[in-house]
């Protein structure tokens, strides 16, 4: 009897997953525990393991196709065994893993006010929208043989054409339409990669003038974007936010950074903010809470979420016990988490937990902003850029390196005064970084 391999629930919020790659093909021998496919969940890319020995009889969900959690994505059985015709159709099954109430619930999808722009040397005006890739939509790119041949001869990318045939099939007229358009040399969209380069000067990318107006292109929503949209729509009406803003003088903190350089340790402003936010959290236990159902969970460990912008969304990996870690460790871990978040290689436990998020848009030159809380976190810090500002000290106007921090708090579990005390502590730590040592 062929055994179905079901779409596993790879994260607590996962309702469906997309097969990004089959690592085995039909007819391959499979041992239990062996990875057979890669799945893109709403959070990251993970491997699906087989639980049975045998042969991969049938792949029921092709690459780039979606399947609900619990639906059969493949069948494993004896060599040459037939899979019943009916069995192959993935039937949605509700087997979502329900997290026990008392455990720290699923994590932070996304502080929405904070979604950073796509990490790229950003030229805002010229941002060319990535053309919709139909493969991602319907499992495979459909094109008539003739259209394929014509596109090949014309050097057109099929994936960039809009198909008007049945089920989006690209047909001759679509290739002809594309050929009729002036081939504006679209600036090759740089692959979204790694480190969000601090926006220095926007690179000059000429905007091609198109005489014809273009119809907006319907672009399918990605799994991640869908989850972000859902959660954010729930969070704003569901979590009563209050906001507290504070200006922090960063001259001393910047000096720490300089001194770290001398030790050949790379420490960013954000690493300092994470460390300070964590130590402040340790000292303000009333902030280190999370409302889950009708219970308030008081945490003793200090885990801080870091909002990381990734392609088509963002994710919040958790830096655990950040209060107890040195700056070099925090810096290294933060970099590693961000890198793996961008490559969608985070494991679920790496973005689950915590009580507070740090969202920093300073590198984009944002002075100040307000972020949306990322439940079950009780608060989120929106951190702006460090800029020279004229401030008054001892009755004198002086220039100081200033940074704004805005706390969004969940008013159901923390109050304004608790938040204010926390921010005062954070400010003190950053302005007198030596206090971080104690």
């Amino acid at each position: 009897m062929a055994t179905p391999v079901q779409m596993p629930a790879l994260s607590p919020t996962m309702k469906e997953g997309k097969i990004t790659k089959w690592l085995k093909k039909e007819g391959d021998k499979i041992s239990s525990g062996e990875a057979i496919a890669e799945v893109e969940t709403d959070k990251s890319n993970l491997e699906v393991e087989a639980y049975d020995d045998g042969y991969l009889l049938k792949i029921a969900v092709g690459e780039d196709q979606m399947a609900p959690v619990g639906a059969p994505i493949a069948f494993i059985g004896e060599k040459g065994e037939k899979v019943e015709a009916g069995a192959a159709a993935p039937a949605p099954k509700a087997t979502s893993a329900e997290a026990p109430k008392a455990t720290p619930a699923p994590a932070p999808m996304a502080p929405a006010a904070a979604p950073a722009p796509a990490p790229r040397a950003v030229a805002p005006v010229a941002a060319v929208p990535t053309p919709p890739r139909r493969e991602e939509v319907e499992g495979r790119l459909r094109a008539s043989p003739l259209a394929k041949k014509m596109a090949r001869e014309q050097g057109l990318e099929l994936a960039e054409l809009q198909g008007t045939g049945p089920q989006g099939r690209i047909v001759k007229r679509d290739v002809e339409a594309a050929m009729a358009q002036p081939r504006a040399e679209a600036p090759a969209a740089p692959a979204l990669r790694a480190v969000p380069a601090p926006a220095k000067k926007p690179a000059f990318i000429p905007v091609p003038f198109r005489a014809e107006r273009q119809e907006p292109v319907a672009k399918p929503i990605s799994s991640m974007r869908r989850v972000i949209a859902q959660r954010m729509a729930e969070v704003k009406p569901g979590v009563p936010h209050f906001y507290l803003a504070i200006e922090v003088e960063m001259d001393a903190a910047m000096k720490v950074r300089e001194e770290a350089k001398a030790l050949e340790a790379k420490v960013s402003v954000n690493d300092l903010v994470i460390k300070a936010a964590a130590v402040a959290l340790r000292r303000s236990p009333k902030m280190n809470v999370s409302l889950q159902g009708d219970q308030v969970l008081q945490f003793s460990n200090v885990d801080v979420g870091i909002a990381v912008a990734i392609e088509d969304g963002l994710i919040t990996p958790i830096l655990k016990d950040a209060d107890q870690k040195g700056l070099a460790t925090i810096s290294g871990e933060a970099r590693d988490l961000a890198e793996r978040a961008r490559n969608r290689k985070l494991r679920p436990e790496e973005y689950t937990g915590g009580t507070l998020t740090v969202s920093n848009l300073g590198m984009y030159g944002i002075d100040q902003f307000i972020a949306v809380i990322n439940p079950p976190h009780a608060g989120i810090l929106a951190v702006g850029a460090v800029t020279d500002k004229v401030v008054v000290r001892d009755g004198q106007m002086v220039v100081r390196k200033m940074m704004s921090v805005t706390l969004s708090g969940d008013h159901r579990v923390i109050d304004g005064a608790v938040g204010a005390e926390y921010l005062r502590e954070l400010k003190a730590l950053l302005e007198h970084p030596m206090r971080l040592l104690f």
Binding site: S144, P145, L146, T164, G165, P166, R169, V171, R173
Partner: protein, 328 residues
């Protein structure tokens, strides 16, 4: 050019060939004194006598076998089937003898013979008498199968068939016999194995043969009013298929509708589709659509009979489908 009915064109071809070659003779049920069930042999008995226009008993297997034997011995028989429905009885002679003699005798025997008669639905003749059976014969190596649509092709192809050194199976049509068209006088021979573009077009190719051609023409005229330019390729010969002509038209239009009166499974159109997918894959912009007779036995009731056959609206719908212009 004189305008003749399809039956008159056939009659002309028979008379001319019998005149030209005294080995040619006609045999079948009621071909003589009755002048043919559909009057194809009108006047031939009087003109050529009972030795060359032979009234056969109602025994298809018998007179077909006589014909095969005569062909083996050097004559050039034309065997008329009252309809192809009845020739099913004679199929053993056609398939097991006529088609195979040359091969099985190592070329010592030849079988220059024409089997001809009407195929397809006549009109309220019910299941047993309304069959388009050409696909059956097209299946067999050793046979040539032709199905001309117009009087001119009927004349020219029958003449070519009679002159052919191999057995030829010719499908005419009860509904074709009265159709009129211009027919060249005298020596008009249409080579077998050559399809004919009956209408030039650029948006879609409609491939058909025999009576279905007229529905295609009707559809093409209507489509033209909608700005769709349809090319009609009349295959005329179903075995051997004119691959070049088929590939040429699909290279031109990239979209194909095949219209055939017979049933869909293993129809001649299915073989055309196979040819297209294997040799014109890169030229197809849409899956090929076939408009065929419904996959059922023919009903006697006129409305059901009409519904079971291809017609212009069905062809138009198929054309729009391959052009991705389907409504709704």
């Amino acid at each position: 050019m004189p305008e003749l009915m399809y039956r008159e064109a056939l009659n002309q071809a028979l008379a001319e060939e019998m005149e030209r070659d005294n080995r040619v003779f006609l045999m079948g049920e009621e071909v003589g004194r009755y002048n043919g069930a559909f009057k194809v042999s009108q006047g031939l008995l009087d003109r050529f006598g009972s030795a060359r226009v032979v009234d056969a008993p109602i025994s298809e297997l018998g007179f077909t076998g006589l014909g095969v034997g005569a062909a083996m011995m050097g004559l050039r028989p034309v065997i008329e089937m009252m309809t192809w429905n009845f020739a099913i009885l004679a199929m053993d002679q056609i398939v097991n003898n006529a088609a195979k003699l040359r091969h099985m005798s190592g070329g010592q025997l030849r079988c220059p013979i024409v089997f001809r008669g009407p195929g397809g639905a006549g009109g309220r003749l019910s299941s047993q008498h309304s069959q388009a059976l050409e696909a059956n014969y097209a299946h067999f190596p050793g046979l040539k199968v032709i199905a001309p649509a117009t009087p001119a092709d009927a004349k020219g192809m029958l003449k070519a068939a009679i002159r052919d050194e191999n057995p030829v199976v010719m499908f005419e049509g009860e509904r074709l016999y009265a159709i009129k068209g211009e027919v060249p006088e005298g020596e008009h021979v249409v080579p077998l194995g050559k399809a004919d573009v009956k209408r030039e077009g650029k948006d879609v190719s409609i491939i058909t043969w025999s009576r279905m051609y007229y529905f295609c023409e009707e559809a093409a005229q209507q489509l033209e009013k909608e700005g769709i330019s349809a090319e009609i390729l009349d295959l005329r010969t179903l075995r051997p298929l004119d691959e070049e002509a088929i590939l040429a038209t699909v290279r031109k239009t990239n979209r194909v509708v095949i219209v055939e009166e017979g049933w869909p499974l293993a129809g001649v159109g299915a073989s055309v589709v196979d040819l297209l997918q294997s040799k014109a894959f890169d030229h197809l912009d849409a899956p090929v659509h076939r408009v065929t007779g419904l996959d059922i036995n023919m009903s006697y009731a006129a409305n059901l009979e009409a519904a079971a056959q291809p017609d212009a609206p069905k062809i138009i719908a198929a054309v729009k489908k391959v052009l991705y212009r389907e409504e709704g």
